[in-house]
Each structure stands twice: as C-alpha cells, then as structure tokens.
Symmetry: C4
Subunit: 267 residues, 4 copies
C-alpha cells in the first residue's frame, strides 16, 4: 500500500525536526521531498525554522519552484535549490540544504571532505565544491535565481552532496530516510576528519571500501535502528510533530518509534 | 502604533534571556536599548545575570549613565559602555557587552575576526580591537570610568562591533532584533573561523559579498524565522521572562513565538 | 548469593543505557555479557539502539554467535565480535563494541592511544590496532564473518581494548562494571590526549604508574561511586530500563542508585 | 550573626553540586570547608559523587584527616589533600580537588596555565605544577599518604591552585564562594588559553592587571550575581540539595537564589 499524502507530510515534518534535533539544521536550512504521486512537483514547508515545522506548514511546488495554489505564506528564498535539483536528477526523491557547524569549516578553508569511517561512506568518494562567486561574482550568497539553482545542480552532478563555499551544503537521497542518515553521518564524518587532521595524517577509506560501506545506512536492519533512535531523541526533547495526519495514519507511521516501555513520564 | 514602554521592557528582558540561552551571555554581560521616546536616555537591567532579568528589573539611565530616580538597586559597574556608545552613535538603538567563549580566543591571541560565511557578514568587514592597557595602563580591565567608555566608543567608531583585549566584545544594532542576530552570528562566525584555521587557510568573504550578505539578518522573512526559533528554544528551557507587561501587550508581542501546536507539556 | 538471570539481563540493559548516556554508544554499538551459568554462551540484545534496550530484548547466543532457540528478531550483524572474543579469552566476561566520537580520530589518523591520566590507565599500556583491510582487502568494514571476528580477537590478544581502523573500538572487562568504567575512561583519555597534543607534547604515564593506576576503577570504593553517578545521570535523562525483573530483584539491584532525597519531581 | 553548622553543611553541599553542574567535578573530585568554629577541623562529605552530596553526608575530620567520631561510611581515599593544606595554610578556608576536562590537557602536556582574561585572573599569576613521581616514584597517582599530602601542600605554597601532573588540580579559597568562582573561572581560563593557542600566540595579562582583576570575583556585586546564576542553573537541572537544614535556615541562605518569578513549572 503506498503512502498517503498525509503520511508523506508527516514524515517530512518528522525528518525536518530530526535533522534539527541532531544539529544538522538550526534556525535555517530546509528539507523537501518529491511529490509521491507527481514527479513534476515537490513538497517544502513555508518559511519556518525546521524544528517548528508542522505537517500543515508543507506546501506544494512545481519544479520551477512556484507554489501550487496561490499562497499568502512567506516562502523560503532559496527554494530554487530544491526545484533545480529535482529537475536535473530524476533519481533524487529528497533534498536537504543546511549550514551545519560541522561542515562550515570545510566550506571556509576549501578543504576536501573525504569518507573517513564506515558510516561516513554514505557521502560517496567525492563531494564537489560550488562557489557562487565563480559564475555570479559578488552576491549575498543566497541561491535565489533559477540560474543559480541550475548552476548548483550542475556542480552536484551525480554526487550525493555538494559543499557551498562560505555558505553550507546540499545533500540528496533516494528517499527521506537515506537523506536523513546521509546528512547526519556526513556531519559526523566532517567532525572526525577535522579531529583526525589535528592528530596527524587523515587516511580516507579506499574506493572499494567507500563503495561497499556506502550502503550500510540503507540496510533495513540499520534504517530501522537509526530511525527509532533519532525519533526517541526527538521525543525526549518534546519535539515530535503535531498530529496533522489521521490517528490511524500516525499509528502506522510511528510503529518503529514507540518509546521504551520503561520511559518515565517526567524527565 | 508605536510600542509602549512596557512592550520595550519585555522585549529587552526577552533579548537578554535569548542571548544567554544561545551562549552569548552567561553570568556576566548585559544588553541595553535606547529609550523609545527619549534618545537621551537608555534602558538597562539592574545588576543581575542576563538569564534571570525580568521586565521589572529594567532601569532608566541618562547618557552619562546615572540612574533616573534614585535607585537602591545594585547597578552594573560597566554601564558607561552603554551610555558612551549611545552618546557617540546616534544611529545605535541597542548595545550588548559580553564575554562569549567563542570570541575570547580572538581577544587573547589578537587574531582578526573576519566574516567567513553569509550570516557572519552581519559583523561587517572589519572589527576593530580595543586594549584598555594602551590608554589606561594596568587596570582590572572593567570599563567603569566615563573616559574609558568614551575611549571604547572611539575604537568602535562606525563599526558594528569591537573586540576588547583580554576581556570580550561589545556589539551594536539599529534595533533589538538586529543586535541579537548580529551577536549570535558573530559568535558562530568566530567558531567557524577558528575551526577553518585549524583545517587550513581561512578565506573571508569579499568586500562586495560582505556588504550584500550583511543585510540578510535584517530581511523580514529572516527576522521572523530566527526570532521564533530562539524564542522556542528559550521556552523549551523554561526561561521565558515573567509577565511584566499587560496580557494584551504580551499576546501582541509574542505572536511570532507561539510554540508548535504539537508541543508536549512535559519535556 | 549469585545473581539470577533476570538480574543479569537488567544489569546488561542498564550498562547499555549508561554507555549511551555517557556518549560511548549512540545509534550503534552493543554490549554483551558472558552467560552467568554457562561460559559457552553469551547474552546480547536484539538489534536495537543501546539507549532503548530493555531486559526483554536480550537474547542468548552460543559462542559461534547463533541465537539459542529460533528467533524472529533482527540480530546485530556484528555479533561475531562478541562470540569470537569470548571463545579466545576465557577471562573476559563482558564486551563492548562502539564507534565513540572520542576514539574515531585515533582510528582515522592511526595515532597510538596511550594512558595520559590516572583513570585512563584502565586501558593498559598498549592498545593494538586492527585494520580489516590488511587481511580481508576491501570490505564494508562490518565484522560479520567468523574469520573476521577471530582475526579481531587475535589482534586484541591479551589487551583490554583494540582500535579498529576507520571503524571504532572493542573493549573487554572481567565484569560489567569494569567494562563500563574502562569504556568511559578510555574515551575521556582519548579526548584529553587529543587536547594535550594540541597544547604541546603528550607525556604518557610510566609503565609502573599504568599498572598501579590501572586498578583504581576496580576499587570497591570507586565502583560504588561511579555506578551511583552514572545511574543518577541516566535517571535524570528519564532513561532507566523498564522493569523486566521482579520488584524485589530490582530493589536489590538499585540499592546503590537511589536518587538524592532532595530530588525534585520535575526537571 | 554567624552561620550555624547546619548552614555551613548546606552551603558545602550546594557548592559541591554547583561545581559538578558547571563541569568542574564529575564522578570524582571533592570540596571541603574548614570547620567554622574550630580551625583544627574540616568538613568533607563521605565518599560520594559531588552532584549527589547531601548535608547529611558531610563528616568532620581532624587536620590529620581522621574522621571525628567513629564512622562506618566509606571515606575519600584522597582526604589528606584537604587536611594537609588546612594545616599548611591558615588563610585557606575552602579546598577543591578535581579532574576537570578543561585542565587535564595542561596536566598532560605540562603547559603553564596563565591568566588570559579578567575573570581568569582569579587564579593568580603563577600556578605551580606538582608531579607525584618526582618525590614518590611510580604510584597509582592517588594522594593517600600524609607525606604525599604534605608534598602537594608545599608545591601549592602560597598560590591559589596547583596543577597535578597526569591527575588534575587542587584549588583553594578564603571562603566557599571565592573557591567556587575561582575553580569555575580557572577552567574557563584553561579553555580559552587552549583555543587562543590554536589561533596564534597567547598573550597573558600583565602582573598589574592580574593583581587588580584578581579580586573582581570577590566584589560583593559580582559574588551575588554569580551565586544566583549558578544556583538557578542547578535548580533548572533539578539538583538543589535536599533540606538538611531547618526551614528558616534555608530561607535565609537561599535569599539570593530565588528562581525567576516567570519560571515555568515544567521544563
């Protein structure tokens, strides 16, 4: 049985809040999903901090990043990032743009981010750089024009992520759970690479290891475990999304995220 | 409709607590606002840690930093920082003095802080240094005499912030929300610059990028989003200011800060 | 009076959650205990994040890492780590495999971890490295085949821990409390060693100091204090394991972990 | 009116918990006070983690570190640190021994800790080192023999603190509040010095600045503010000590620590 649109909206709000709770997103950054029934559209919240996103905040866009149905909501200035990547990459079903503290130093020092541990292999062997200045000169660094979004998508090419000089990163996935895992472990990878750089010489995984370990995060065994863990942590923070979907939908979606039975009611 | 004085007091207590909750202020540091009706006066709490400030703690001062109406409260020793800057800078409506962990290393190593990402551009292209020792010799480093405050204001000049050697920083804004954003992103900028320095060579934004990106934090779209986010985090910490203003005032002021509907009552 | 199996299951769930709460384990990693009545078997949870493990999640395995009694649960892919070490090391009663942030940089830069403070001496004078690639070429870095587990056990040899290149660490103990202490202080030792490396030259403990200080963590005085402390912190996080054991068992087991009498009911 | 012994016990439990809550103490470390009525005795808790200490845990010792009245409690192995310092330093009224993460790197790399910001001046211009190995050869690094305690006290000499190689630090004060401030700001100073070292060249305060700024933490204005702040943070963590003193005593002691009126009951 395929997911209803209400399921997908709930899952997007959950992903948005998980990524904020794990330190990938903060006041800024956004996550989108390609529309489950129409590959020519995508779902993205109205302009709001990701830890506050509710299912009812989620709007529908065409791939040229125009809202479907006239909206009076404030929209993310950088939504072309999503539209242009869905346009260029039919395999991509989920996109996250962020300014995580873990990756910013790499975007400032222009240091290559390389896979340094098995879970970090999710980012692939190469993460390209994109410097808006190269093609557009001095800007305010926001990606707001369609040609800026298309330039970024070209730099991303067939990779899993792209680093944006002086700005942040954009990560893609074949579904929302792969995206969330990849974004989180890319940040951990960056932290470990920086610390290893301070200790001595950074030795990356080999090409073969990167290819083989790159799919660990997609193993059903692993996906179930990480999703339960991140949902538990979000629940502990009192930040699960409100119920925009019907009760039965939610019960089904949250099967894997039941809090431990021994969980205390206070914290 | 202009804000009432009660609104402004509430907003100052909120700003003070947000800056403490985000790690800019701790046991020390203080925020002030120019009096909304009288440019020759300013509002500053009595001597108290910023995360505890209540609207009723807020006193009124003349620009020579004398309290208006005889006060039996303990006052901040360093209030001349505020008075002297309001005197010297008619464009400044809000001032924050702090010892944030993120900037102290720059104040100790005398390393120039430069904008390294788009949101960090809020601090401008140059942040001057001020070393109290240069003009006043050995002191306890507190800025307590009018001539010390005036010297600091001269060093600040027309900039957005000044680093104080072995001491901390003072940041200014054209309103309370610009000040809060600038102080928070200046700290993030410092953290990223230090980490990038460890990774390799720090490349700052160009002058044109700094000028253009410097106003992102003032975009209405962005101000609304960040203010809601920081207020949500303060609320999660159980630290919203008590109600010094009337109920209707508060309802109006907090419109943008309504907690997510799905918010759990426990945490 | 020897512990019942229910006691041991509860203690394993508690250890698992303490190690997660102290930052040794996260979404991944696992702890096992040798079966208290049958040295040819061991106890390990079903595949689940360690902070969520309940006594009822704990399964029994033979030393060739086959579950005892057919199980429909998802199992940890890397359970051979446990079986092969219990096989090779009759003195080992408890095993923890983890990817702690503190040790990963050493696994990436291949920097020797050495005891640098008295509590860190619990890891012993030498921690060997094991690189799966040396014997097995390109893999996904997971230790899933019996021959991989046996190779790791050979590298561990008679030591207290082994660092796994690009992957993490495996730590052993003569009982669950020694294991928990050792795993936690090994991580602290790694953090201090990295920071000391940044400050200047790292001077390790002498051999004699390492030998003598290595048993501090096993002093009854110390074990009681640390166990009470970590349990208090887990309780503060609302994460004590649910009651899988009978009430009287639990009362007995938690004697040392009574929350402070003045503890507030909210947090 | 002088404090009752019950007041002093409560204040010691509070100090112990504040230092744990601020990251100076953890599972280990201890704080003591000289007996308010008898300079030949001191007060120190039974062996327990500092965040759990209650007024009723506090025992009385002679200066040769023997408990007054036969005790069945477990005692701190390192209590001679306290007795020997009270013996050697009549001016000292409070002692803290700790292994804080911030100072350990200096104890490992033997890097001189120097005052680098105004509040850090509380530690004075020079902090001596003591390496137990110099006089006693290989030990387990615990300070348990009277001659070890006396050797440490000689190294401390007339200073405010001493760094213990591969072990931690011991800090003294002329009263409990000076001690708490000094221990906390010594740790902040260490963190800033390490970060400044990474950025460039560390410039310490001048001798004159250190002398003048060294008393900021003792200004009544400042003591009131910091004590209220740390108590508020401890209260937020749900960790205020239980009521061992009478109600009126407590009301008097906590005057400065009333939680903000707007404080929410949940957190």
């Amino acid at each position: 049985m395929s997911k209803t649109l209400a399921d997908v909206r709930y899952e997007l709000a959950l992903a948005s809040r998980i990524l904020a709770n794990e330190g990938v997103l903060d006041a800024f950054g956004h996550v989108s999903l390609r529309h489950p029934a129409d590959p020519g559209r995508y779902l993205l919240p109205r302009s709001r901090s990701p830890q506050l996103v509710e299912p009812s905040d989620i709007l529908e866009y065409t791939l040229d990043s125009e809202p479907v149905g006239r909206s009076t909501d404030k929209l993310f200035a950088e939504r072309v990032i999503h539209g242009c990547i869905y346009e260029a990459r039919p395999d991509v079903m989920a996109v996250c743009h962020h300014h995580a503290a873990a990756v910013l130093p790499f975007c400032i020092a222009s240091m290559q981010l390389v896979p340094v541990f098995h879970l970090g292999a999710a980012v692939g062997e190469t993460i390209p750089f994109w410097d808006q200045r190269d093609e557009f000169g001095d800007t305010n660094l926001l990606v707001v024009k369609p040609e800026e979004g298309r330039s970024l998508a070209r730099a991303l090419s067939s990779h899993a992520a792209v680093l944006m000089t002086h700005h942040g990163a954009t990560v893609v996935g074949k579904d929302v759970r792969e995206l969330v895992s990849r974004a989180i472990y890319m940040c951990q990878n960056a932290q470990y690479q920086l610390a290893a750089h301070l200790l001595g010489k950074v030795a990356p995984l080999s090409s073969g290891e990167t290819r083989q370990a790159g799919s660990i995060n997609s193993m059903p065994n692993v996906i179930g475990r990480t999703w339960e863990y991140w949902t538990m942590r979000l629940d502990d923070a009192g930040r699960l999304p409100p119920h925009g979907a019907s009760t039965s939908d939610r019960a089904r979606l949250r099967t894997k995220a039941t809090p431990a039975r021994g969980r205390r009611t206070r914290r």
